[in-house]
Amino acid sequence: MDGRALVKLAPVILRLILPFALVCLAAAETTPVEFSRDVEPIFRTRCQGCHGAKQQMSGLRLDRGEDAMRGGYSGAVIVPRKSADSRLIQMVAGAVEGRIMPPAGEKLSAAEIGVLRAWIDQGAVWPAGSTVAATVVRPKSSHWSLQPIQRPAIPAVRTAAWVRNPIDAFILERLESEKIAPAPEADKNTLLRRLSLDLIGLPPTPAEVAAFLADKSSDAYERAVDRLMASPHYGEKWARHWLDQARYADSDGYEKDSRRPHAWRYRQWVIDAFNRDMPFDQFTVEQIAGDLLPGATIEQRVATGFHRNTLTNREGGVNINQFRFEQLVDRAAAVGTVWLGLTVGCAQCHDHKYDPISQKDFYQLFAFFNNAEEVNIEAPMAGEQGPYLRARNDYYRERRKLLDEYKVTELQPEWERKMIAAADTPGKWTDLDVAFDTVQKMVDGGEKILRTPPAQRTRHQQDAITDHMVRWYSQVSGDEKFKELKFKELRKKLADLEAAFPDLSQAQTLAESPEHQPTYLRVRGDWRQNGVEVHPNTPAVLPALTAAGEANRLTLARWIVGRDNPLMARVAVNRMWQELFGQGLVATSEDFGTQGARPSHPQLLDWLAGDFMDGGWGMKRMVKRMVMSAAYRQSSAARHELDARDPNNTLIARQSAFRLPAELIRDSVLSASGLLYPAIGGKSVQPPLPEAVVKLAFGNNDWVTWKETTGPERYRRGMYITYQRTIPYPVLANFDAPDAGAPSCRRQRSNTPLQALNLLNDPVFVEAAQALAERTLREAPADSKDRIAYAFELCLARKPAPAETDRLLGYFERQKSILAAEPESATKLYPVEPEKVTRVEAAAWVGLSRVLLNLDEFLTRE
């Protein structure tokens, strides 16, 4: 029933079962054995398929004496003169519960095992010369993505007039070979809406549409592109795609799911980087290792917040070492997915099943992150420093006053002594054990702070430990004393005080620790089972790390952006393509390994990758190239004649129509209705969320609170909604926003009834329908048809066709008659007294607005 026991509880069970298991081992041969005659043939015929020159599963090779004696990832397998203690014998004898080598085919016979035992017991002599001659070679792979990037020639095509830039030549060459003509160019309305949604994530306004339609000049399209790419909303749109990959969220995850009040500062960095058009190599280096750059600036350190988006478990009783291990696994796997497009995380427990990534490769990558510490730094935004410095003394005077008044100043030294005593003598005071555990979980670096004399702590350290004591003092005092001290009241006063004074923004970053941490491979991926020691290095199948000096995160980052790395440029341009065409040239944009899809246009992919590098890694330049192409400008209307031949549009014989991502649905609704508050960047906001959703959080929201944002900030774009991992905001969860547990390189696009309910009935969207009605009544001419046309254009960036106007007019009349019979409904739908029309009519416009905001076309980028 259970083949897992040894794996997960190995040391325990090994000791328990081995004495019994070994009873059934075949007895050792007693006559002398000769290696080349007796032993080597067994290794050759039965073992070397998996543990030989071609592959070394679990790091073991049995074709060379030196390697065989060194053993595998879990250590030595041959203990000379002690065959019963040798893992090799235990494995072939099946003495390890549920596992036997070889795992398939015939077992070793008792005689063969006897030979191996005798050889070991006689000293395990591996004579020189019987070793297969071998030189150390880096493994090679013929897999397409691991080959150097070629610079293919731009192909010649017959219909050269269609070609606007080299992209088109590659697309058209393929289409012509299939005897398919490209789709016609989309109409101007569609083009502008497409560009607008793709580049800034917002629909165009009627004025922008009118200007674009009126502009008959030959470069009208290009100027629209330039205008949109210069908009600060460009950074927001592209940052959101990047934040999916960075697994960005505003909370820790896991049980308590504590808020991360400084997470946004990394998001701010990403938005700024896109808006400033930071070259992709620099963008990469700063996120992986910004803190290690010579003279690192605050912004470069903020960039390392990429690594801080990993989940944190503050659950009581969690083993700190285990979760540090999980975090490092996540960091190594994330870098592999995001920049290499490889599922290196699959090699956490064993050599990758399909790709040439060994378990050792994984832990070598992991080793780059093993020396890093989590550090929160002050990262002020422009304008914060002055007010902060002016107010700082007053703030601390007030804070001190409160701490004195509530006896915190008096009680804290004793409390700290108790915590240190608990740390030093675990098990002695069971109540203090729990309290100390809580310090370790809830305060980053809590024990270190406690052991630092108060005078030497930073203000953030001192404040954090004091605030923690106020929050958790009942663990030490008991509930009655806690109530008597009124620390709950104090907590609120301290929070109010903090909110009332200007502060400096902070950021979550990584910093290299001065103390070197050795890294061990973990046998079967189990954090408790150290295997062999490994050192930072890059996967063997990829070009070697060439930089001189110590291998650290910075050398890793520079290797990743190096021109010899065949993966990063391909991976990056493919994801841009995916955002602009609905799917990548490699459809599995997260996996360029052997299990991923093959590129539909390999030459185009390479040409783009080369062009990206030659163009100085300019992201805006690359995006512009793509949107300027004729391929991009094609109509997205279905071509049913191609349904059978090209059901997924891999030939790009048209553009693709696809449902907007979750955040953009909200943004479009807010934008069309005029509610959108367009400020760029800054902290996360909390728009209205039904209480029932908050209640599903752990402890009925003792931990997670949702303080509704008031004022215009509640109408900010979807990307600024606080992402609370355990209670994702409904519109995000319903429309396939990723759960931020791991990098997400492409989103699902499901189509469900819950989405319909969300858009129809969520008060946020009903309010938007009311606003759209009010806006239409205020801004459009008084004629019903004109009003319909105006609202329609606000939503869909085009004028309605006559049949559409008729249908909407029919609906409008029907609404009026329903509402005339339900005057109280009309009041609820339009709560304020309308100016130009009757209440019933105004309410019917709300209904009509709601219809428009739910249309498939509204939710779709065509």
């Binding site: 299990q595 969860a733 759960d739 189509n751 559409e804």
Partner: protein, 474 residues
């Protein structure tokens, strides 16, 4: 006209005929075709891998980890050790969350006696469930790898201690679709204080969100956003949907984008959900005996009893997987008092569910599972040494109990044993992955074949482990 009347009066085909003013015949036929095409409704019922008895699952999820040696697994030997510490030789390999290995042992103050023909020994705190002893299969040899709540719950529900994988209910709907016409395939009901893993317990992970668990409430608005907004009557909602459908249809004729027909179908299903969900929570047609049986008239068991009755009603309507999360059983302190409270809340309704399903002939096709993410230690956790009744127990993944009933499970049997002190499983170990494999098997799904390709790998509920526990099945 009420929404329910609308939905009741018209079949979908009639509905399209009578409202088809704006749609041409081609469009209508496309719509009807779309309705039957599997691509349009990913929740359409699908064939199992092999015939399975369990058509539906009700998972009574006891979040926080109930204490097995006070409910299911009597340990007379433990009484002899009461107040003493174990020799280090027996504790050196234990993983403990809060307490230290020197913590003293605590015998259970509960009284166990045999129940039913099977003579299953159960605690005096669960007399109702005990009266179903012959219908339940008690597993005393469960073990888990995770000893903290979030990872433990995640392992139980998704097969992995890390966030981001699909949950059991999502896998079931992915594998089998759903028979429910007007409800989601996977529904979640909650009571108590909220679970550690939150939405990770019902997430669809990397599966399409179609398969996600939908939280459902027993009062007010049963499903989030299922009620019309203020001022939107049924007539308005219907007229609005008609207009959307016609306009979507016109646009479909322009663009030929198949997703539009899916969108129309999704909006119609949403409308039917609006019509049927209020009826689901209306118990007026249930007999007083049924209400009484579930403990809905008793303050302590009202909320949980309501959820259990709702679960039965959902299964009647074809919902594939219902999860009832009750939290929390995480009794690090005041174990005796808290355990009594939780048993008062859950014991009677859980037993009523089994009896009610049985009397309606639904137990054979409905698998009921009861249990939490791990168990509790034989050792005492004493956070307030000055208060004797403060004693609790710490997390214990090495040996704990769960039970299953119905859906092809053979009742009246006990599987596995823990050692004399309940420290480790002594016989017939059942890992969480084995339980998952068995649940899927009962549903006619081979846990090794139910896979989904993601990030270059075929994922499954049981990760790379799991063996079906044949002995559980009838």
């Amino acid at each position: 006209m009420t929404l329910a009347e609308y939905a009741g009066m018209q079949t979908r085909r009639d509905f399209f005929r009578s409202c088809a003013g704006g749609i041409g015949t081609i469009a209508l036929s496309q719509l009807m075709a779309a309705e039957s095409a599997p691509a349009v409704n990913p929740l359409a019922a699908k064939a199992a891998h092999f015939p399975g008895k369990a058509k539906n699952v009700i998972f009574l999820f006891m979040a926080g980890a109930p204490s097995q040696m006070d409910l299911f697994d009597p340990k007379p030997e433990l009484m002899k050790w009461n107040g003493k510490s174990l020799p280090p030789s027996r504790t050196k390999d234990l993983k403990l969350a809060f307490i230290k290995p020197t913590a003293t042992l605590m015998g259970s103050p509960r009284i166990f006696k045999p129940y039913g023909q099977s003579g299953m020994e159960l605690s005096d705190y669960i007399p109702h469930v005990a009266s179903c002893a012959d219908d339940i299969c008690l597993v005393r040899s469960m073990y888990s790898d995770a000893f903290n709540h979030h990872p433990g719950e995640s392992l139980l529900m998704t097969g992995s201690p890390l966030s981001g994988r699909p949950t059991m209910g999502a896998w079931a709907c992915y594998g089998l679709g759903s028979e429910a016409q007007n409800l989601p395939g996977f529904v979640v009901l909650s009571s108590g204080t909220g679970t550690s893993a939150g939405s990770n317990n019902w997430s669809s992970g990397f599966l399409p969100s179609t398969y996600q668990g939908v939280p459902f409430r027993s009062s007010g608005e049963p499903i989030l956003y299922v009620a019309n907004p203020a001022g939107v009557s049924v007539e308005t909602q219907r007229a609005s949907l008609d207009a959307m459908r016609d306009l979507n249809q016109q646009h479909y004729q322009q663009t030929g984008n198949q997703e539009i027909t899916s969108r129309i179908a999704a909006y119609e299903l949403a409308f039917r959900m609006q019509a049927s969900s209020p009826g689901l929570i209306d118990f007026s047609k249930e007999s007083p005996a049924t209400i009484e049986m579930y403990g809905i008239n008793r303050e302590a068991s009202r909320a949980y009893g309501t959820n259990c009755l709702l679960a039965r009603r959902m299964v009647e309507r074809g919902v594939r997987f219902v999860m009832l999360a009750h939290s929390s059983w995480d009794d690090h302190e005041n174990l005796t008092k808290h355990l009594k409270t939780n048993c008062d809340i859950t014991d009677q309704p859980a037993a009523a569910l089994i009896k009610d399903l049985k009397q309606r002939g639904m137990l054979d096709s409905t698998l009921v599972v009861w249990g939490g993410e791990f168990g509790r230690t034989p050792m005492t956790q004493m956070n307030r040494p000055d208060q004797a009744d403060n004693a609790g127990r710490d997390h214990h993944p090495n040996g704990y109990s769960m039970w299953l009933a119905g859906g092809g499970i053979r009742g009246g049997q006990v599987i596995g044993k823990t050692d004399d002190l309940g420290l480790e499983v002594a016989e017939e170990k059942v890992h969480v992955h084995d339980l998952q494999a068995t649940i899927l098997h009962a549903m006619g799904l081979d846990h090794k074949r139910l896979t989904y390709r993601h990030m270059g790998r075929d994922f499954r509920l049981t990760d790379v482990e799991g063996n079906v526990v044949r002995k559980m099945l009838g």
